[in-house]
């Protein structure tokens, strides 16, 4: 067994050396798409390059990526309930207060990241992650989604991001234009709408991933 481990390590070392050599053989100057991106920035509707790539130039990737996130949730829900953690004790007043203070601030910061994404680092995913953390915090404090919100309202919120993105993406099609081809005059607004819905959906999805099971599941095994 020891010989086998030794061999494996040797092979991986060789792999590392080979890959390292390949990386070092690259020229010192980057040959990326930066000039193309900067050249088209004025038509993108935003002024921050990464956001322009994520939601305009390569928006199709982002659309599919949101489908991946939704899919992970569907996958976990289809597992039919995870083993419950041990019953939770009282959160105590200190944690309760911490949550009461942090959650609103998290919401404001998520909104800020969404807003700033148009011209500076930030954007829907970062904002959604912050929002998701608020959801996790609430769950850790013992809060649960009310029953009347756990069915359709939750499901609609979960898919809203993908659905709105799909609608916005398909809008140019009847006019004979391409998928996701925004009119440069409205690109900024459309991107903001897509991002706003995406933020909420991503946040709720991440929080639901943490929760684990479909809250409408009657009897988790």
């Amino acid at each position: 067994m020891a010989g086998y481990a030794w061999l494996l390590r040797l092979l991986l070392l060789l792999l590392a050396v080979g890959l390292g050599y390949a990386v070092l053989s690259l020229p010192d100057q980057a040959q990326g798409l930066q000039p193309d991106v900067l050249g088209k920035m004025d038509q993108s509707g935003v002024t921050h390059p990464v956001t322009a790539v994520l939601l305009n130039f390569r928006g199709y990737d982002t659309l599919l990526e949101m489908a991946v996130l939704l899919l992970a949730l569907l996958g976990i829900w289809s597992l039919g309930g995870l083993p419950e953690a041990r019953p939770e004790s009282e959160p105590g007043p200190v944690l309760g207060t911490l949550t009461q203070v942090l959650v609103p601030v998290l919401i404001v910061v998520a909104g800020y990241l969404l807003w700033t994404g148009a011209h500076a680092p930030g954007g829907a995913f970062q904002a959604g992650a912050v929002l998701g953390a608020a959801g996790v915090l609430l769950q850790l404090t013992g809060w649960r989604l009310p029953r009347r919100a756990a069915g359709h309202p939750l499901r609609i919120t979960l898919v809203a991001g993908v659905a709105v993105f799909l609608i916005v993406a398909a809008l140019p099609l009847p006019g004979g234009r391409q998928l996701l081809e925004y009119d440069p005059n409205y690109a900024g607004v459309l991107i903001l709408v897509v991002e706003a819905f995406a933020t909420v959906s991503i946040g709720v999805t991440l929080a639901a991933l943490f929760f684990g099971a479909d809250p409408t599941d009657k009897a988790p095994k």
């Binding site: 067994m1 481990a5 494996l8 390590r9 991986l12 070392l13 792999l15 590392a16 890959l19 390292g20 990386v23 070092l24 690259l26 020229p27 010192d28 100057q29 980057a30 990326g32 798409l33 930066q34 991106v37 390059p49 990464v50 322009a52 790539v53 994520l54 390569r58 990737d61 982002t62 990526e65 949101m66 991946v68 996130l69 899919l71 992970a72 949730l73 996958g75 976990i76 597992l79 995870l82 083993p83 954007g123 995913f125 991503i202 991440l206 991933l209 943490f210 684990g212 095994k221």
Partner: protein, 102 residues
């Protein structure tokens, strides 16, 4: 060698370390960590090499790709953790059955 290449090499190192961990360790949680570390390595290569060439602002395309990749990684991790719990519930162990590679 410049700073971007340093980080790119670290990325390669992480990729190989994670690969090693994925093969060698049996516990599923460790395998999931290993996959995540491998992923971080790949992301590091993508982002680091975008900064080649010194002073100019780096290429934004790999940054966007990595953000997409991080979302995919989180989704996969969450699904894997859920599946791991179900495996443990079904078999009593959070390891894959069969020929154990020690």
């Amino acid at each position: 060698m410049s700073v971007p290449f340093l980080y790119a090499l670290v990325g390669i190192g992480l990729f190989c370390l994670g690969f090693h961990g994925l093969i060698v360790y049996d516990h599923l949680l460790r395998k999931i960590l290993a996959i995540n570390i491998m992923g971080s390595g790949v992301f590091l290569v993508l982002v680091a090499l975008a900064k080649r060439g010194g002073e100019a602002a780096p290429d934004p395309v790999p940054h966007a790709m990595v953000i997409t990749g991080i979302v995919v990684a989180v989704s996969a991790t969450a699904l894997a953790l859920g599946l791991m719990l179900k495996v443990q519930a079904a078999t009593g162990h959070a390891v894959l059955p069969g020929k154990s590679r020690d």
